[in-house]
């Protein structure tokens, strides 16, 4: 068994001011193995990976690769020793071409001439089945393709250990399949793959072994086939096992009586085709469809985030004009954007400042929220939403993804919206926080807030929404509620009338 070991991490310790992020964690990766690294936010997954890739220096412990003890000084160093990473958030340059992105900053890419490496890039792309041309600007590709280019880049650098940090969070099912095929292919060549994800089904589909971390400590290492899914979740969150299934059995039927809170007729924007939409008071509905089907574009039009080009909008039957986000906010609409890093957090500002931001904007330029008031708000929401932060003055950028998301949720809750739009609020965050957010959505609806919920996980939407608007190719193609609200029906509607195997 031991000869098969590729990478061994022993008693890894990492300390941040005030926090012991990793406490004596062990991790073993074998050759030709897909090893899922699981845990909630703050469990230490990211830290462990950053130690392994040289972003952080460990404070204690030992790393052996191929039986040799190694030290990793920097990400470049890690790469040259054969440890490559594709991060959750894409870290390539959108203004360069695909080929340039694949070769930039690499020793073997430095002196290759344009035409040559474009050719080579095309070969790799074709081999991996990635729908992109090497001469294309990366920024013009969809998020999913950008992600795959990042993987192609890593794959091409003769790596022994490939780390995939949430690689599938922005891919649709077909692309996920493609990625898994690629992963299996690499596995058969003896590459060890560390797979970090929040999608449990994917773990079971592709991984051989699972290591679970919790609160910076090792819970255990298991063979995937010997660990039932429920048990895995229990190990990750350590409690609340039954709540996942018993969260909600949709209270059906009664919604109809409530008044329509918001309505859009033929609303269109620079990015969204005309569509009709309405939501009742206290209703939770959702847009579903594949990536790029136009679901985000619709809610962005509702919020005035993109340039509105036509149609009319009504609140409680009264026509309103929404051309900018502030108009929507003043009408009681809140919007949690899809891309947390780009459109959500103000990374260098504190948790406190991030929480009060939207309310401050609504109060206006000349009515600043006083320091003591803002501190009270921050304290309140840190407690209510259980935000894990060293203090309310900590820059929000240093929080984990799930906690950043909670900060933005707090920001919108503080404005006491009547209608809250949540675009992928649970993307890239752990099971525990996901559950908290889902519960919160239902609680808000109970209190009479209308919520539009968008998620790539259909199952999650079925659990929270009482009505689903299905989109395909930027058009609304169906609306499901009541008995039709099940996975099969959603899939069918998404896929449309086309013959499906």
């Amino acid at each position: 068994m031991q000869d098969n070991t590729l990478l061994q991490m022993r008693h890894i310790e990492k300390r941040f001011p005030g926090v012991l992020a990793l406490n004596g964690v062990d991790f073993t990766l074998r050759k030709g193995e897909i090893h899922a690294l699981m845990g909630e936010n703050g469990a230490g997954k990211s830290t462990l990976i950053k130690v392994l890739t040289g972003v952080y220096q460990m404070d204690g412990g030992q790393i052996t690769l191929d039986g040799k003890s190694i030290t990793i000084h920097s990400p470049q160093d890690a790469q040259s020793q054969g440890i490559s990473t594709v991060y959750q958030e894409i870290t390539l340059c959108p203004n360069l071409t695909v080929a340039e992105n694949m070769f930039i900053g690499r020793e073997d890419g430095a002196w290759v001439r344009h035409k040559l490496y474009e050719k080579r890039a095309d070969e790799i792309l074709a081999k991996l089945g990635i729908p992109a041309r090497s001469s294309q600007q990366l920024g013009d590709c969809s998020l999913a393709v950008q992600q795959m280019v990042a993987i192609a880049r890593a794959v091409d650098q003769k790596c022994k250990v490939l780390i995939l940090d949430e690689p599938t969070s922005s891919l649709d099912d077909k692309e996920v399949k493609m990625l898994f095929d690629l992963m299996r292919n690499l596995k058969s060549q003896g590459v060890g793959i560390i797979f970090v994800t929040h999608f449990l089904e994917q773990v079971y589909e592709v991984s051989d072994r699972i290591t679970v971390l919790r609160n910076g400590e090792l819970v255990g290492e298991y063979l995937t086939e010997q660990l039932p899914q429920v048990e895995l979740v229990a190990k990750m969150i350590g409690k609340e096992l039954d709540e996942l299934s018993s969260l909600k059995e949709a209270p059906e039927g009664e919604e109809e009586e409530k008044e329509v809170f918001y309505e859009a007729k033929n609303l269109s924007s620079s990015d969204a085709m005309p569509f009709n939409f309405s939501i009742r008071k206290g209703e939770v509905n959702g847009f579903t469809g594949l990536l790029g089907s136009g679901r985000s574009e619709c809610v962005r039009a509702i919020f005035g985030a993109d340039k509105v080009t036509g149609g009319s909008t009504f609140i409680k039957g009264k026509q309103i004009s929404v051309t900018r986000p502030i108009d929507a906010m003043k009408s009681g609409i809140g919007y949690l954007a899809e891309d947390r890093k780009r459109d959500g957090i103000i990374a260098e500002l504190s948790v406190r400042e991030n929480i009060i931001l939207a309310l401050q904007v609504m109060n206006g330029f000349f009515k600043p929220i006083s320091r003591s008031e803002s501190e009270a708000f921050a304290d309140e929401y840190i407690k209510v939403l259980n935000i894990k932060t060293a203090s309310k003055e900590t820059p929000v950028g240093s929080l984990s993804g799930g906690n950043q998301q909670k900060v933005i949720l707090a920001r919108w809750l503080l404005t006491h919206p009547d209608y809250l739009i949540l675009d992928e609020p649970t993307r890239g965050i752990d099971v525990g926080t996901k559950l908290e957010i889902q519960k919160l959505v239902l609680k808000l609806a109970e209190d009479g807030v209308s919520v539009t919920f968008i998620s790539s996980e259909v199952e999650e939407m079925l659990r929270t929404c009482s009505r689903l608007i299905v989109m395909r190719d930027r058009h609304v193609v169906g609306e499901l509620k009541g008995q039709d609200l099940n996975q099969e029906q959603v899939m069918k509607t998404i896929a449309g009338g086309e013959a499906q195997g």
Partner: protein, 358 residues
């Protein structure tokens, strides 16, 4: 990742550490070189007023225009992630306007001075709005946008007074430029205090600070939170315009004349430096006005120290550059991160030994 290290570091050590250490070192150096360097004397000036005098006073006094400009520049830098290089030229325009109004009055009294200053303000704000529009609406890089006014500003100043360099002699103007009878502190210093207080009030009674930082750090997110980024950027340039008018008027009052060619010449680079030395990121985002003010005094103290050491005025710039390179490198993210890691280690050791002790 880089941001993480930075913020951890800043948690332990403030943004103001480096400028404050720089000041302390300069003071120490001067005290060793000449123990009497910072002595403050009390003398009678030409008008017979009792006034404070000495190197320290002249440093603080001399940095006044720079400090005021640096405050405005901090806002522009934070909001736009770039700098206005036309402040010197704009100050010449404002100063020329100031003089033009004073000259056209039959007699210079308090009212006329106020009027002249307000006119200078309006003109400078208009030019600020011009720069701001280029940057905020047309999305031109600040340095390129302000290059226009940098190039033509002093010509405009030349036209305002028909190419002349008129002098103004009035007790009010000389009081503004030097001392108000009965007050021993130079008037420009008092004006700096006033402007600082005005900025504090501005931050207290408006949301300018958080809006500016939000726009500077993440414009897209700021927009989706309803902040009008264009307005915030424009506003920062207009506020800098006010600072320019104040600095220009002080400059004119000091000399009692306007020389459009020499008034606050080369001040733009010192202003940007003051912002940088103050620990503010020239890429925009988080800022501290106090840092820029300290930065201005560091630069002035450095200049005065060099002159006191009998360095010739041609050589001063070179020596200044050496010190500034040191300051900027020490304040750079790379060194900060290294230092932050060192601090982390020290802290870890301390915790360990504390744990052992217990």
């Amino acid at each position: 990742m880089k941001k993480n290290t930075k913020s951890f570091f800043q948690g332990g050590l403030g943004q103001l550490t480096i400028p404050l250490i720089a000041i302390a070192l300069l003071v120490l150096f001067n005290l060793i070189r000449d123990p009497g360097f910072f002595e403050i004397g009390i003398t009678h000036n030409n008008d017979g007023n009792i006034v404070l005098a000495g190197n320290l006073i002249s440093i603080i006094n001399g940095a006044s225009e720079l400090a005021i400009l640096a405050m405005g520049m901090t806002l522009v830098t934070a909001a736009c992630g770039g700098q206005d290089i036309s402040v010197g030229a704009a100050a010449a325009i404002a100063g020329s306007t100031f003089v033009k109004i004073l000259k056209s009055a039959p007699e210079i009294n308090g009212g006329i001075v106020v009027l002249a200053f307000l006119c200078a303000c309006i003109v400078a704000m208009l030019f600020g709005a011009f720069n701001g529009t280029l940057v905020a609406v047309f999305k031109i890089q600040p340095m390129i946008a302000t290059l226009i006014l940098y190039t033509c500003g002093r010509s405009i100043a030349y036209w305002i007074n028909g190419g002349a360099t008129p002098t103004i002699s009035s007790p009010i103007i000389s009081a503004l430029g030097s001392f108000i009878p009965g007050i021993p502190v130079p008037t420009p210093v008092l004006i700096v205090v006033c402007v600082t207080i005005l900025f504090k009030l501005l931050f207290h009674f408006t949301s300018l600070e958080i809006f500016t930082q939000s726009v500077g750090i993440n414009q897209s997110a700021a927009r989706l939170n309803g902040i009008n980024a264009t307005f915030i950027k424009l506003l920062s340039f207009i506020i800098l315009g006010v600072c320019v008018a104040i600095a220009g008027s002080i400059g004119v009052s000091r000399l009692g004349l306007i020389n459009h060619e020499t008034l606050l010449i080369d001040v733009e680079m010192d202003t940007i430096l003051a912002v940088a030395i103050g620990g503010n990121s020239l890429g925009g985002g988080k800022f501290k006005i106090s840092g820029s003010i300290i930065g201005a005094y560091v630069i002035q103290m450095l200049t005065t120290t060099l002159y006191a050491m009998k360095v010739s005025s041609t050589d001063v710039k070179a020596y200044k550059a050496i010190v500034i390179v040191l300051l900027v490198v020490i304040g750079s993210p790379v060194i900060k991160a290294k230092f932050g890691k060192l601090m982390e280690k020290v802290r870890g050791r301390m915790q360990e030994s504390a744990a052992k002790g217990a």
